[in-house]
């Protein structure tokens, strides 16, 4: 048609990479990590270890599903790990414990205990939503306060004790396995799948992306922005609640501050995967990659001879690198081509 100089012919690939930076970079990182650990340690690239990794990322993964919704809306939830803790403790609290443990010890059925725990996290999520949408507290501060509140509830319920008994259904899903596959991995897969389907194929999912992409425009299009924001915070709380209950079974006990480490892990998984901190870009696919990166990194560093104290630093550096890519990709998108206006 028209004469195109060679530099222009190369453009599509370059523009493609530029636009897909946030998707490509995490994927390349994952491949690189897999290759590195595969070569560095003979015990890394085994089927058993693959299950290990999947099991290890499950609790953080279920939390990350809900968090993906929140971050896609350009909000943040800092309270989900504490809410997970509260749900985990609640489910144990409403289960009959050993006689020396001083809690309610009500003879409730497992289903009721699970429902009460879920109710707890829904309530906490609703309070988050109320603070953000009705009062207008920024989510960063609101959920920071909720983090303390949920931790306080945990402290009051357990009073420094450790609870071991959980309902059978929670125990099975958290620590059992079927056909060699841990149930918790299956639950994670279901959450990821449902999360993906909701985000991609439902009206609500579209609204999440639109609210994150341009909140003002969403409002001027007649989208009930506050409702969407409230919903994502409740979704995040519920996902955390499930993660918390299964986590209690996975660890074998419920106690104070059990999931504090997962706060960073889940946020890192979402962001490392390439979901934009500015909202509107990314999704469950990105979160899956991010989870794998984190899981491979944590697991792989155990397989190679490395100072265990150095591990923490390395994790921090990887997270920093991901943040740089995240912001860089955002800037690339913002100025894809020079525009005359």
């Amino acid at each position: 048609m028209l004469y195109q100089p060679t530099a222009d012919r190369a453009m599509p690939i370059r523009t493609f990479l530029k636009h897909q930076m946030r998707n490509v970079a995490p994927f390349v990182t994952l491949i690189a990590l897999l290759a590195f650990f595969g070569v560095a340690s003979p015990s890394f690239a085994t089927m058993d270890n693959a299950y290990n990794i999947l099991t290890q990322i499950s609790v953080a993964g279920i939390m990350a599903v809900g968090l993906t919704f929140v971050i896609l809306c350009a909000e943040i939830d800092l309270s989900f790990a504490a809410i997970a803790n509260a749900a985990g403790i609640a489910v144990a609290y409403f289960t009959v414990q050993e006689s020396y443990v001083n809690v309610a010890n009500m003879p409730l059925s497992g289903a009721v205990a699970v429902c009460l725990a879920l109710l707890t996290c829904v309530a906490l999520g609703l309070i988050n939503a109320f603070g953000l949408t009705v009062i207008g507290i920024p989510s960063f501060i609101m959920t920071l306060a909720m983090m303390q509140i949920a931790a306080g509830i945990c402290a009051l319920l357990v009073r420094g004790q450790i609870l071991y008994a959980v309902p059978d259904v929670v125990k099975t899903l958290g620590s059992g396995s079927i056909g060699g596959i841990p149930w918790i991995v299956i639950v994670l897969a279901i959450f990821l799948l449902v999360g993906h389907l909701v985000l991609t194929y439902t009206r609500f999912g579209r609204y999440v992306y639109m609210v994150g992409g341009n909140r003002e425009a969403a409002e001027y299009s007649g989208v009930n922005v506050k409702w969407v924001l409230a919903a994502v915070l409740v979704i995040s709380a519920v996902c955390s609640g499930v993660a918390g209950m299964l986590g209690v079974a996975y660890f074998g006990s419920a106690q104070q501050n059990e999931f504090d480490g997962y706060l960073l892990d889940a946020i890192a998984a979402v962001v490392v995967g390439g979901t934009s901190l500015f909202g509107g870009r990314g999704g469950i696919g990105n979160t899956i990659i991010g989870l794998c990166i984190l899981g491979v990194l944590n697991n792989g560093l155990d397989h190679v001879e490395i100072d265990s104290f150095l591990k923490i630093l390395i994790r921090g550096l990887i997270l920093l690198a991901a943040l740089i890519i995240n912001v860089y990709a955002q800037n690339l998108r913002a100025t894809p081509i020079e525009s005359p206006d």
Binding site: D8, Y201, T202, R203, F204, G205, R206, Y207, Y209, M210, G213, N214, E216, A217, A218, E219, Y220, S221, G222, V223, N224, V225, K226, W227, G280, R281, R333, P336, I337, E338, S339, P340, D341
Partner: protein, 505 residues
């Protein structure tokens, strides 16, 4: 002959652009433009959006650095690597969106970036005194300790101009400086500009307001399609001449609103679609009462900041009025949010494209967002979305006619149409348009006029809120005028001109 040449030699150009070309991703924005700016001259630039005037200015101001052609300042070739470079060479630009810091004082804004210091601390006294003298030299008497945000927009603009002059600019580029100003403010700006011209500095004045251009400029250059079509002394030309060269023929309706008087016509017997009764919101507006009838376009005109923007938002539930009531089709309504307004059949297009469009999403998602609730309850139906969006793209003649392209790939005018398209698949009862043609070129304005008229003829009730008299005059069948938050005048079934409208406001 000899005398003419002598005169030309005496008038040495301060700035000369030779054969400047620039393209964006293969689309030519400037095609070999020559441009000359004399010392002590106010040079008006007109042209449709995308005609290339902004691009040329951004090259001069060092914003775009990659172009073909030469730039000569006082006869010396210059090539800027950044806006900073340009500023150092004495070229300053006052952008349409003011870059003032509203929370800082006037003095701090004037001295932004180079505060006088004494012993390492900011010398507040010297700064205030300096700012006062500087502003007084421009004829602005104001307390420099006042916070910038407390001043009217016209004054803020003058202060930004003062800052640019103060930083040593000998060439000042003003991009649409009058679009947000009331006539007295425009008058004051022009006084200041004449003073600046008298001091030997040169001004480039870009505007869509031809009256303003013609009254202030010494020379007018017209841009069309990336070329500078013609330069002429402002004394020799009139508006009709300029419009003809800007757009060519075939835009009579629009031309009429630019120049002549307009006969308003509306049917007082048509059913009332929306009735607004004594609506009030804080200090923005109060006691607003009006009736909107089917098949009419009601223009709400008032100077910038008279409360018309807030009024438009209140009609769509973006702000919640504190007093008064609204009824639609005889039923009283109270919108808790925009979603409720949409359900009640109100649609709204805000004044800035940025706040109504999703730039990173494809066109069809931008169109379907307005009526997603009607297409699907839970699961999305992308095929239906694309189909409906495709029909709107065709109906509104949006280019490119491909609903899958990302919105940010479209030109400004087409983006504006997409914003309108999202409301038209299931037409609302009431369509509220806030500044529907702001910043648009003549051709795009013409399209908007046509679209709005065809919607009106289908029986929609339309409210057009604007601070630009041309917009209201070219669109409305009936006009109400707002002044300081109150309705002061209604024009219906009479002949009206721009002058009468301005007078009422």
């Amino acid at each position: 002959m000899a005398i003419e040449r002598e005169a030309a030699a005496k008038r040495k150009p301060r700035l000369r652009m030779e054969a400047v070309s620039k393209s964006f991703g293969g689309v030519a924005a400037l095609r070999g433009v020559d441009f000359e700016l004399q010392e002590g001259e106010i040079h008006g630039l007109v042209g449709e959006n995308g005609a290339g005037k902004s691009t040329l200015m951004k090259i001069i101001a060092g914003v775009h650095t990659n172009y073909q052609g030469r730039m000569l300042i006082d006869g010396h070739e210059a090539r800027f690597r950044s806006a900073r470079d340009a500023l150092r060479a004495g070229i300053g630009m006052v952008h349409q969106e003011l870059s003032v810091v509203p929370d800082l004082s006037v003095a701090e804004n004037v001295y932004l970036g180079h505060q006088p210091t004494k012993g390492g601390c900011v010398d507040w006294k010297a700064m205030q005194a300096g700012a006062r003298t500087q502003l007084e030299s421009l004829g602005i008497a104001i307390d420099p300790r006042l916070p910038m945000g407390s001043l009217p927009i016209g004054l803020q603009q003058l202060i930004e101009l003062a800052r640019v002059l103060f930083s040593g600019a000998r060439i000042v580029i003003l991009d649409e400086p009058t679009s947000a100003l009331s006539p007295p403010e425009v008058h004051r700006l022009f006084e200041v500009l004449r003073g600046v011209r008298a001091s030997g500095r040169s001004i480039i004045f870009i505007s869509h307001f031809l009256d303003d251009i013609l009254s202030i400029s010494d020379t007018v250059t017209i841009f069309r399609n990336g070329r500078s079509v013609i330069s002429e002394e402002a004394g020799h030309i009139d508006k009709a001449w300029v419009i003809e060269r800007m757009i060519g023929g075939g835009h009579e309706e629009l031309e009429e609103s630019y120049t002549g008087s307009i006969a308003l016509q509306s049917d007082p017997a048509a059913p009332v679609v929306m009735a607004v009764n004594r609506l009030g919101f804080g200090r923005a507006f109060c006691e607003m009462s009006m009736e909107l009838r089917a098949g009419e376009v009601l223009g709400v005109y008032g100077f910038m900041g008279c409360g018309q923007i807030e009024f438009a938002r209140a009609l769509f539930g973006k702000v919640r009025p504190q007093s008064g009531s609204v009824s639609i089709g005889g039923k009283s309504v109270r919108f808790r949010n925009t979603a409720a307004a949409k359900r009640a059949g109100v649609a709204f297009v805000p004044e800035s494209r940025r706040s109504m469009l999703f730039y990173q999403e494809p066109v069809f998602k931008n169109v379907s967002i307005g009526m997603l609730g009607r297409i699907s309850r839970v699961l999305l139906k992308p095929a239906v979305e694309r189909d409906l969006a495709g029909r709107q793209v065709k109906a509104l003649n949006i280019r490119p006619a491909n609903v899958g392209v990302l919105l940010r790939g479209l030109s400004g005018g087409n983006q504006q149409k997409v914003a309108l398209a999202k409301w038209l698949i299931y037409p609302p009862k009431v369509l509220v348009l806030s500044e529907p043609t702001r910043g648009m070129d003549v051709g795009a304005k013409d399209d908007v006029v046509k679209i709005v008229r065809s919607l009106r003829d289908k029986g929609l009730a339309i409210v057009v809120v604007s601070a630009e008299p041309e917009t209201v005059l070219s669109l409305a069948d009936r006009i109400v005028v707002m002044k300081k938050g109150r309705l002061v005048r209604e024009f219906a079934n009479e002949v009206i001109s721009k002058d009468r409208l301005l007078e009422a406001a």
